[in-house]
Amino acid sequence: MEPKLIGDPVDRIDGKQKVTGGAHYAGDIKQPEMAYAVLVMSTIANGTIRDIDTADAEKLPGVLAIMTHKNTPRLPGYDANKPGATALGRVLHLLHDDRVDYSNQPIAMAIADSFEHAVDAANHVRVTYQAKTPAPGLPTSKAEPFRPQKLPRPDDPVDTQRGDLNKAMAAAEVSFKQTYHTPTQVHNALEPHTSVAIWEGKQLTIYQATQGIFPSRERIAEYFALPPENVRVIAQFVGGGFGSKGPVWADGVLAAMAAQYVKRPVKLELRRSDMFGMVGSRSATSQQLDIGASRSGDFLGMAHRSLNQTSVFDDFSEPAGILTRVLYKCPNQEVTHRSIRANIGSPSPMRAPGEAPGMFALESAIDELAYQLNMDPIALRLKNYAETDQQKELPFSSKSLRECYQQAADRFGWSKRLAAPRSMRDGNILIGMGMASAIYPTIRDEASAKIKLNADGTVLLSIGTQDIGTGSYTAMTQLAADAFGISPDRVTLRAGDTRQPKTPVSGGSRTTASAGSAVVQAAEAVILKAKQLALNDLKSPLNGQKESDMAVEKGRLFLKSDPKKGEALTALLKRNGGNALEASTSSKSGEEKEKYSMYAHGAQFAEVRIDEALGEIRVSKLTGAYAAGRIVNAKTAHSQLVGGIVWGVSMALLEHAIHDPRTNRIMNANLAEYHVPVNADIPDIDAFFIDEKDEIVNPAGVKGIGEIGITGSVAAIANAIYHATGKRIRELPITPDKILSFTA
């Protein structure tokens, strides 16, 4: 059967709003009498506040209040301020005590009638500290590593062993051992975290820049000891998140506290510098890879031991080793995660958390081993191709990585690559080609949706989910339209609001698999009602037929064995009183999760051009093939891949939040010195999908695509840099000084 509109490059349904300035983000919300809050941040990383003097600030024009730990009313649910069961519930600093646990921690909040007055007041708050020496993070830390209690996803064990690693390594003909370092990174979504909080009695409405309106609602309700239904969180448009708006951070709670304190609606919009600490980061890592192989390239043993950093008050362990468990065939293996504590803001998930730094290390190591074995990097990967998930001892629901390697290699022109490092050049420019595998788990959470089929054939889809820029609103609309075989412009979507059916956080590439499956199942439930209506309707041409013998296409219900026999859904509904058919479903994964291992796969290739004298690195070509089940929208899905690959360029070459090891302050807390790519850094990107049908994975048949792009591109670029220069850089970001250095 033709997949109809699914897969077509449909324009975003909110495209016109976004290009005209008509899309309303949280910071665009205005309220009568709205006040503005601005935070005062700590300038030490460890110690206590000795005194906080607000007298001058309070006298300034327009100032409504300065909230500090001395006057802030205690939140009734503050006891719940503990590490959450998931990565979403973090420990927050909410002006409740004099502790300073990291630099750039919120320690006071100025609230005034205008933004300018609030900034002025915040600048006039004087703080003295009792400072202690801060514990530095990686790589400076000398702290004793500890075994974290859990990794962010409950399905991932902290440590795994299989086979007999020591025996395998002792027997291996070829052995490899190296350590890779990745830096602290900060998400830096272009939209700062923003909340507009409005109290009406015990009802709280928050317009918020969040990846998860429901987790935010629940956590904020918990702090204020309110039933969740008293809190409404609205996220119409979200200006990117990349993980930083997934956990519930202090900003939303502080906005609600401020609004309650001054008895006016309050907008709290973080300043860019505020975003370096209190809203998460990607942990720095130090990862040791040991591989034992036969001379012909079979992996016999493999160890991936990863060290990460967390804060002194919360637990988050970057799960860098998890993909090593599943990507290659290797009978003897050990993967471990350890953490150190530092006086830093809590790390948190950032686009492909764990997977991105972990795959840089693993795929660099495989590349190094390929040179050591004098094998083609693709051939070495194919020799160790995992036909099953050896860790879980399960088959894959589908896996098309072989096809990805082949098609990407063909389109990239891998056959033109000369195998030896430093063997390709164009005048003073060294040319390098590298590749890496890409992989990302398919995650699905419980989600619900409501669909109403009106007698005029239009559909109303209600689903809570926010769209953080991925195209979720468009994809949900398409899935509903597809179920009835109607044009997406016949579907009206209500979304981005906790008053709509509950959906999970938009993170872990899970929205289409989770919320999309709920849409598909809600549509199926409505169609079932239509079938029952028809088979019981004496006037219907389908009277007396079996439900399972009927199908819907192009808004028409018909008999599969005799498609001429049928009628339009509108005709059926009109004849039966013109009432709408409505169904709500809650959808979650079932036994397929116990029976199958589910991953999207890809192969990423990169070409770099490096000025031999200056060490300047330009990425000149990026080609990637990806297999991710059914693609709902070719246009937005392609943009997701491209975005992920751009993030790979960024991680490989640019991003580094630099801590001064003496003070633990971030020295580049702004977008001029914390480098992210600009247009001139990004070449044409050839990213494409391989056809892959997966009827096991979930009802929507989709795998996540938001993060896989970064999992291969970092190592592909690092490997290309080695191929160009003969110099292996094992510490990100790979900058010109490292290329030129003779010690690397």
Binding site: G21, L190, R271, G469, V678, I682
Partner: protein, 206 residues
């Protein structure tokens, strides 16, 4: 504002008529703004004694108001003129989300004090085109998916529209170079370049 206020940024008074995207699209019914900004007073007087009367001309409309010398053009437009299309990503002239045109030239409105802009012609994204009368570059951004979250998009579009007029669209690399004052964290750069090239090829503005 009405569609009649929708002029091309070169000040020549040319109006771009409907260029609707032909692709299918659904309808988005988002939760209402608790108080739509249109219901609020258009201009809110600044409270401070340092405020002084100024006259600003934005999108061919004239605003008489008082402003404090320290108010940036961006904050004033966003907080007091209900022109929230220009975005604040960094407030330091580092990201480009606040890009507007002042007398036809690109400017970061977060680095621009409002009191210094009297007598100048300011154009924001709201003046570039509307949903029913998109500027060709706005239509091209939709067609080529030159954005994801949309937050940097108003600034990208204002930069791109200026680029087309300035003639810095000779090659993809030239476009990349001249569009590098606007960060897109979603990484939609290839779509942005393709969109600008398609309008350039169409030969519309020039």
């Amino acid at each position: 504002m009405t569609d009649n206020d929708n002029y091309m940024v070169d000040g020549a008074g040319r109006r771009w008529f409907l260029k609707q995207s032909t692709a299918l699209a659904g309808t988005l019914l988002l939760p209402p703004l608790a108080t739509p900004s249109s219901a609020l007073p258009g201009t809110v007087p600044a409270a401070s004694s340092t405020a002084r009367p100024i006259t600003l001309r934005v999108n061919r409309k004239t605003y008489k108001l008082t402003a404090e010398p320290r108010e940036t053009l961006l904050d004033l437009m966003r907080n007091r003129l209900n022109l929230t299309g220009s975005k604040k990503g960094c407030d330091h002239g580092q990201c480009g989300a606040c890009t507007v045109h002042i007398d036809g030239r690109r400017a970061y409105s977060c680095l621009t004090l409002a009191v210094m802009q009297q007598g100048r012609d300011i154009t924001t994204i709201e003046g570039l085109g509307t949903e029913s009368a998109l500027h060709p570059l706005q239509a091209a951004f939709i067609e080529h998916d030159g954005f994801q979250c949309g937050f940097c998009t108003p600034g990208q579009l204002m930069a791109g529209a200026a680029l087309l007029r300035e003639g810095h669209t000779g090659s993809a690399d030239e476009i990349r170079e001249w569009m590098s004052g606007n960060i897109c964290r979603c990484g939609a750069y290839p779509g942005i370049v393709a969109a600008i090239q398609s309008v350039k090829k169409g030969g519309t503005p020039g």
